[in-house]
Symmetry: C2
Subunit: 112 residues, 2 copies
């Protein structure tokens, strides 16, 4: 977490690991009203039959890589490329169906 | 502004104008505790002798393009490239010294 004493810089596309056995969550900022995270995936998907069903709204932005998400009740998958953002209202059930397994996918997520 | 009734997608690197006479601010999300904006620059810089001095903390992420910022009291400029984030605490005086004038620079800014 970044201290608030002075201006500080962080490169979100650097220090990407070669191997990533588990999806990795890193908190960038946290206040009582929101949490900003960097998430790294490499071939990770939500386990079969599971859905995210969250108490808070989530806004995600894909920074690098690629992802296919499924939103409950929608026929077609949502395909995210770098620069694509998606607002998932609280309790909008969704799952990550696919991320590429040959490179790191970098997400920014704002939970609020 | 995005409605919260259902999941919605927005591409932050699309619909970039060819010409940009003024720096452009677009609110992506706003709550009582934060405001998330997309900012577009093309050759824009803070006018000579002026500084930003803000009541709230600002976290910025450069998504495309390039920028050089000056932070009061620091000798060297801060150079931002895509993926670079910078936390500017409230009242940390800063200015944008330069953005390229041959392409659009896209920023994400979270004021909180």
């Amino acid at each position: 977490m970044i201290s608030l004493s002075e201006a500080s810089m962080k490169t979100l596309l650097a220090d990407l690991p070669e191997d990533l056995p588990e999806k990795k969550f890193e908190v960038l900022l946290e206040t009582p009203s929101f949490r900003l995270e960097r998430i790294l995936s490499k071939g990770h998907a939500t386990p079969e039959g599971q859905w995210y069903d969250q108490e808070r709204n989530e806004w995600v932005l894909l920074l690098r890589g690629e992802a296919r998400l499924e939103i409950e009740g929608r026929e077609s998958e949502t395909h995210l490329l770098p620069g694509d953002s998606l607002l998932l209202p609280a309790h909008c059930r969704h799952r990550v169906n696919w991320t590429p397994d040959d490179r790191i996918t970098v997400w920014l997520a704002l939970h609020y």
